[in-house]
Point group: C2
Chain length 146, copies 2
């Protein structure tokens, strides 16, 4: 498995272990992980700390040139908010663990020139599918449907 | 002046007073301010706490029905990230202080059914214009251009 997607999955499991929503991300600049994080809805009562947002926040303030050379690895297809952040900062490429359980704003991202690679990784698919089956209400809250 | 836009402006000034980027927001549910905040790039080294995001975070976890009855007041036109968050949560209406110094994703928001009202409030325009003139680098960093 891609070693950076593996870090995103580790982050997702870090969340799951404490009762959180298992979505994790890693921001990688030229081979170096400069930010990583996972969804914090349950843990911090956060409406904005999705996995991707948590990784961006963890990376701290970067300049445009740095963002534009980054690849963001995430276990699940990015929602509107996270896609908007990717567009704002001009992140070059997003590697998506899976988009079967949820397909976010992939068309919008592509239309803005972001390169997407969808892995359909079985660990990501099963982790999310299992979580959604057991926690439909929490999951729907996270994507604005409940 | 609209009393909720006034709260967003107060938030922007709260940021400005401590050396931050003067953009503030208020989330209003049926006449009640349930979240308010301002840009925290300087204060918290945050890449994600724009004014709108800070107000959403301050409101805490809401359900979809609540978000859909909310109006978000913000001193400046929402960037891609904040617009994505507005779309994610299905916020009904956004009242924008001004879009002269920066025009965000207004077309995208409208295309997704969000009602926009642009005030072109002189306090908002002058506050932002003055800040950008004095801090071009910081401002460009905030919108992913530096």
């Amino acid at each position: 498995m891609n070693k950076y997607l593996k870090i995103a999955i580790e982050e997702a499991y870090n969340g799951l272990e404490v009762g959180g929503i298992p979505i994790g991300s890693a921001l990688v600049l030229e081979g170096k992980v400069i930010g990583r994080g996972h969804n914090q809805r349950v843990q911090k009562g956060s409406a904005i700390l999705h996995g991707e947002m948590a990784a961006l926040e963890n990376a701290g303030r970067l300049n445009a040139d740095e963002y534009q050379r980054c690849t963001l690895y995430t276990t699940l297809s990015p929602c509107s908010m996270c896609s908007g952040a990717i567009i704002l900062y001009g992140i070059h490429k997003v590697v998506i663990g899976e988009n079967i359980n949820f397909k976010g704003e992939e068309e919008l991202l592509r239309s803005r020139g972001v390169i997407l690679e969808v892995i359909q990784d079985l660990t990501c698919i099963n982790m999310m599918s299992d979580f959604i089956t057991k926690n439909p209400q929490l999951w729907n809250e996270d994507i604005g449907l409940y």
